[in-house]
């Protein structure tokens, strides 16, 4: 598992766990970031700028601070892929 930040542009991954405050989690969920959802890192901007992530057909800009709190498992990394939500619980403990 790695953070959204560590993905390469164009790479597909599954969201495993979102940490951070409830407020931010709601904000991310409202825009489609749920555990188990597939996302694509669409764009990385210069130096310290935000990432653009494609999720459920829409594009969302995410600052790097928040992106580092979203843990993902890149497609093809099958060990952690199976029960996304369950393993997220495991990680939470």
């Amino acid at each position: 598992m790695k953070s959204l930040m560590e993905l390469r542009v164009g790479e597909t991954a599954k969201v495993m766990k979102i940490s951070g405050g409830f407020r931010m989690q709601v904000q991310l969920k409202n825009l489609g970031f749920h555990e188990g959802v597939t996302v694509i890192l669409a764009k990385k901007s210069a130096i310290s700028g935000p990432l653009m992530v494609a999720v459920n057909g829409s594009n969302v800009a995410i600052g790097r601070g928040i992106a580092s709190k979203i843990l993902v498992s890149p497609a093809g990394d099958t060990t952690e892929d199976a029960h996304a939500t369950d393993s997220a619980h495991g990680a939470a403990k």
Partner: protein, 639 residues
């Protein structure tokens, strides 16, 4: 009359939908006791009159800020209305969660499946019939920016059907049991007071929805314990807090509906993603941004100056005519003040503001504004804010009033206050008139651009200071980057008109009063008293002619008055005859930075409270003195 409430997520095309139905006749309403506003318009369709309310966009019915709280209260209280839920078909999976929340309210509802054309372009095909079956609510496909289907939505509200099937109204068994159990324990008259079913109240309480929790507390505080017992049971069984359990339930429900009604088609990479490769490019993106801004402001000033001359000459002629008709005295003075004030408003403010507002709606509706936020994010982080905060600053170049209001969309109180307070320093179109009319005209464009650059640096420095004083880290950017859209002219026009109305109702009266008041000051020779009172500042500290005192006072009413009054107060049309270059620069620097105009102060007070507003008023004036004195000294050395 039938009442219709338009609800939907941001970027769902809800306002376009509203504008296509009601056009320009919309009025702005305020929720009682709150600053949150909504649009209300009427529609006459085949003899039936509809009153349509466009509520602020919200991602969910769980309020996370004051605006959402008021919106929610409004929906709950409007029990006799039909809800129209505008859904962006291309991001339906996420919108459905809110649709389910609305269905849970058990009111008549119609779903407008909007932007079906752009969904199709993305390869997303939705079976509207099946969706209607699953939701047990009418689903109408619409393309609101072409006005397609919007009237069918209104016709569909006739059925007043309340969704009743189990698909959307039953969760997984153990969660549902917990909900039902809690619902049974809730006192009947409390539930009745909400006009929504007990099940919905129970769900909301389990989610800690502040709206219901507050009411429950007021009704009977001990019931909160019953709620938290249920929450604990859910948490033990599911290994996460109850509000997450409920959110997950609703999400799963939405996904299951989504999967049953959607089919996908392979599409070629859209033009859009290719466009973003260039527009969000780390180098070309910024070059495009600068070009867009340059073209935008050039276009605004070209159009503005073209009309300004024409309108002003009409009012001048009218003034001369009046002078011929009426005898000298107070009556003429007031009439003349009225005509001149109106002329100043229509002749100077409007010609620049209309093109600015049109351009602004264009930037918003095409989707470019969100991309500006994306590009600006890392620069804004340097001043302790994030990308979304760039919007108040961009708006600030037009007018500080919408700029301050736009700061409301930021997440934290700190960010809202900092962005609102700093955005008033951005030279608005009125101050731009001063910069161009005085500095640009008499000293050349290099000085004018220099003043803009100085302004950017000053704001940047203040932002850094604010970040150092209050090191709470800004939560960072989370912003939907909407698809590119061809803006519809109707929508752009309606948006411009709604914003322009504020100018007619707030700004022009102030301009008229200001002009008349200055006339009166002169008539009773009070201007010399004001000038004398201000002379320690104007003459001693800033080294300006004594006569500029009154102009600075009038600049508080409306910034461009400073320039117009300057001509009047000095009794000349050629400033360089009476002021040196050093004085012109000092005066301009001072007027650009000093106390915001009275309309801005009013809205700043409303948005950030009186303490902050006083701080801004005195702070900016202090800053203006400091910078103007520096400018005076520097110009003294240079010249």
């Amino acid at each position: 009359m039938q009442r219709i409430l338009l609800t939907g997520q941001p970027n769902s095309g809800k306002s376009t939908f509203f504008n296509s139905l009601t056009g320009y006749k919309a009025l702005t309403g305020n929720f009682p006791g709150a600053t949150v506003s909504y649009q209300i318009g009427s529609l006459n369709l085949m003899g039936t009159l509809y009153s349509i309310v466009d509520l602020p966009g919200a991602y969910s019915l769980i309020p996370s800020d004051k605006a959402e709280f008021e919106t929610k209260k409004f929906i709950i209280n409007e029990q006799d209305s039909t809800i129209v839920n505008v859904v962006d078909a291309s991001v339906m999976s996420r919108s459905l969660e809110m649709t389910i929340e609305l269905i849970e309210l058990q009111r008549p509802i119609v779903v407008a499946l909007n932007m079906v054309d752009s969904a199709r372009k993305k390869g997303i095909l939705i079976d509207a019939k099946k969706l209607a079956q699953l939701l047990d609510a009418p689903v109408v496909e619409t393309i609101a920016n072409h006005g397609k289907g919007t009237l069918d939505v209104i016709r569909a509200t006739h059925g007043k059907h309340i969704p009743a099937n189990a698909t959307t109204l039953r969760y997984q068994r153990d969660v549902e049991n917990e909900i039902v159990e809690l619902a049974e324990k809730l006192p009947e008259d409390l539930v009745a007071s909400f006009h929504v079913p007990g099940r919905t109240v129970a769900i909301r309480l389990l989610e800690n929805d502040p709206f219901y929790v507050k009411e429950l507390e007021r009704f009977n505080g001990s019931l909160l314990e019953v709620v938290s017992e249920c929450q604990q049971r859910l948490e033990e069984r599911h290994g996460r807090p109850a509000n997450f359990v409920i959110a997950a339930e609703r999400h799963n429900l939405a996904m299951s509906i989504f999967e049953q009604v959607t089919s996908f088609e392979r599409t070629k990479p859209t033009l859009e993603s290719q466009l973003d490769t260039i527009i969000l490019h780390p180098f070309w993106g910024y070059l495009i941004l600068l070009t867009v801004f340059y073209l935008f402001f050039t276009a605004v000033f070209k159009t503005g100056s073209y009309f300004e001359g024409f309108i002003l000459s009409q009012f001048e002629a009218l003034g001369k005519l009046l002078g011929g008709w009426m005898s000298q005295g107070l009556g003429l003075l007031i009439t003349n003040g009225f005509v001149q004030g109106l002329g100043a408003g229509l002749g100077i403010a409007i010609p620049y503001i209309i093109p600015f507002l049109v351009g602004l709606s264009f930037l918003e509706d095409t989707g470019y504004m969100a991309r500006i936020a994306f590009l600006a994010d890392n620069v804004m982080h340097r001043i302790g804010l994030h990308g979304k905060a760039v919007i108040p600053f961009v708006l600030g170049y037009g007018c500080s009033v919408p700029a301050v209001m736009a700061a409301r969309n930021l997440e934290t109180r700190r960010d809202q206050v900092v962005a609102a307070s700093l955005s008033v320093l951005v030279p608005c179109s009125a101050r731009t008139v001063i910069i161009f009319g005085l500095v640009g005209f008499y000293l050349g464009p290099v000085y004018a651009i220099g003043l803009y650059i100085l302004n950017v640096f000053v704001i940047g420095a203040l932002g850094r200071i604010a970040a150092m004083l209050d090191p709470r880290i800004t939560p960072g950017l989370v912003l939907e980057i909407p698809a590119y859209h061809m803006p519809s002219l109707k929508n752009v026009a309606a948006k411009t008109w709604i914003r322009l109305k504020d100018f007619f109702t707030v700004v022009i009266p102030f301009l008229i009063i200001g002009t008349i008041a200055l006339g009166l000051l002169e008539y009773y020779h009070l201007d010399t008293t004001v000038n004398a009172a201000l002379s320690p500042l104007t003459v001693t500290i800033l080294g300006l002619p004594k006569a500029v005192g009154t102009t600075l006072i009038f600049g508080i009413f409306k910034k461009e008055l400073s320039l117009m009054m300057l001509f009047q107060a000095l009794g000349t049309n050629t400033i360089t005859d009476v002021m040196t270059i050093q004085q012109i620069v000092t005066f301009s620097v001072f007027t650009v930075f000093y106390i915001p105009c009275i309309s801005t102060i009013a809205v700043l007070y409303r948005e950030t409270g009186w303490k902050n507003t006083l701080g801004v008023a005195f702070g900016t004036t202090g800053l203006a003195v400091l910078l103007a004195v520096t400018a005076r000294l520097v110009m003294g050395i240079v010249l």
